[in-house]
Symmetry: C2
């Protein structure tokens, strides 16, 4: 055995008086080893405390046993849950998970490139990497895009547009609101953008004009608070506000009452994502439930499946689009009774 460090196949081979091939056969449970030999080798393995090096295995199999996930960062419950979905599938398959947060850094492409070189497959949140770049990379390895559409890549997403349309339609038809606005910047990633489009779809369906452009803010609660103050100061509250996510809605709900405006009395509000706090806020928040965990899990499953067995090539995934169901969760903040 090397002076320091773990024993290798060759150490075991020497110790048991066999060849490395035989040791390898034992560790891989290859049946073509005579029982007495097997026992002798196993004894040496136990005696020296040998476990095959992950590096050696990776080298031989050309498999990293690692799945990469690329997202903007881990801020907010959405991404955390997504990662949990990916992670749960990965651990069951004995695969490690490499997390890369791009934080919209300019050199994110290079980081993704690097990550791609140490993983068997990639799960990428939409909007975090250039699509051309990903499409090229997808020639080499399985890549699954989450929460985005693409005609060149495999995507897993929810139909945020349809969901936004559904919940907006509820505001229009069940409550008769006519002056509606959208909170959240639709210029960034695919998710907020499609939600905004669904919001506009519903308005268009009813021949109603938007009561003002989207309120372009980031996606954290503080921005919701800022938006609430701005709306209040303008003296011109819409009938209802559709928020790009629940955090924004919480920010508004926490601020508006303090300014003397009640929810949903003076303005109704709906969120998106069904945050774990949504059912506890007062009023309880009407929102859209997304199977975020499933989104991650499904993406991971597709990616790992395409990775295939050690022998096989890592298949490039054909373009495909898997759409998971959303569900409008009607609570009180839209104006419905408890």
């Amino acid at each position: 055995m090397a002076a320091s460090g773990r024993p290798t196949v060759r150490d075991i081979a020497k110790h048991a008086g066999v060849s490395v091939a035989t040791v390898s056969r034992v560790t891989r449970q290859d049946p073509k080893v005579a029982p007495p030999t097997r026992e002798r080798v196993q004894a040496s393995i136990d005696a020296l405390g040998y476990t095959p090096s992950a590096l050696g295995l990776s080298l031989a199999y050309q498999r990293y046993h690692t799945l990469g996930i690329v997202l903007p960062g881990l801020g907010g419950p959405y991404f955390a849950e997504l990662v949990q979905g990916v992670e749960s599938v990965a651990v069951d398959a004995g695969i490690a998970v490499n997390v890369l947060g791009t934080h919209f850094r300019p050199d994110a492409g290079r980081s993704v490139q690097q990550l791609a070189q140490r993983t068997d497959a990639l799960v990428v949140q939409g909007g975090t990497a250039d699509e051309d770049f990903l499409a090229e990379l997808a020639q080499t390895m399985p890549i699954v895009l989450v929460a985005a559409t693409s005609d060149r890549l495999t995507t897993v997403r929810t139909d945020g547009r349809a969901a936004a349309r559904e919940v907006t339609t509820h505001l229009l038809e069940a409550h008769g609101y006519r002056r509606l606005r959208f909170l959240g910047s639709p210029n960034g990633s695919p998710d907020p953008t499609s939600r905004y489009l669904g919001f506009r779809d519903a308005l268009a369906d009813h021949g109603i004009a938007e009561a003002g452009g989207p309120l372009e803010y980031g996606f954290e609660a503080e921005y919701g608070a800022m938006a609430a103050r701005e709306l209040h100061a303008s003296g011109d509250l819409p009938d209802a506000l559709v928020c790009a996510n629940d955090e924004l809605a919480f920010g508004v709900m926490a601020t508006l009452p303090g300014l003397g405006r009640s929810i949903p009395g003076d303005m109704a509000i709906v969120g998106f994502d069904d945050n774990s706090l949504a059912g506890l806020a007062s009023p309880t928040l009407t929102t859209v439930h997304q199977p975020t965990f499933e989104l991650g899990a499904t993406a991971a499953r597709i990616a790992l499946e395409a990775t295939g067995e050690p022998g096989a090539a890592r298949l490039p995934l054909p373009p495909d689009d898997r759409v998971l169901e959303t569900r409008a969760v009607i609570r009180e903040s839209c104006g419905c009774p408890a």
Copy 2:
């Protein structure tokens, strides 16, 4: 070049008409290459689109360029922020981050073992892995324990006990509350436990008995809601409730007013962690700010530093204890004016 896949050093060597050693010298920017040769090799590298394989590099240097982080899961903002701290340090160093969620699975030890084999160093959240096991593993590689104490391992933590004592003392001295209870199960990980101990320290300082044992619940908002209902049903609200984290406090704050009990009028409440929603809730939540991101970043820095340069051995870290500052954030929920 192999029929499929990326070119290797040997492909470049053949293409440029030099040896692999020279190619290696060029990629590593070794100055001992004559300029004309360097240019010729570089031209081949560009022509074939060569980048050194991460696997080959790992094998040669015995470094994975990967940092592992072990935690129960990614539920709640605390862990997400911790990972972000780790991740930010890692990407700056060109190091990948491997996340392992144990979810308190019985076979977590084996997963950690595996993770340890594919990483250069480990950051472990306290309570997720057996300390004996970690101590042994720490002979082999740098391990940093987060949010825990140990006399055998390097730890990075905040003094949750002192912080809990401080905020509890505020409840006792500034407001004169006498009947205090703690919400959250102190039987699990080190963090909740030390918070509970600090809570009891403050009571002991003032010669006051706990108004009832700790309310043993999990750490999500729903449990806070359950606890609120239980307290209300018992008809015996304490003067003040110290919660193991902010989510629990949110759960209580969302539920109690609906039962006709006001906060802080009928019962004061304080949380822990300074969640991003804490300043927005109504009343705003008095809590303890923890430098969670810094916790992760510091742990990662220590771990990576111990990993050392490619040549050097991965040093086992000597036992050490780094304590980061907490800060009580006094808001309204304890009874203080806005």
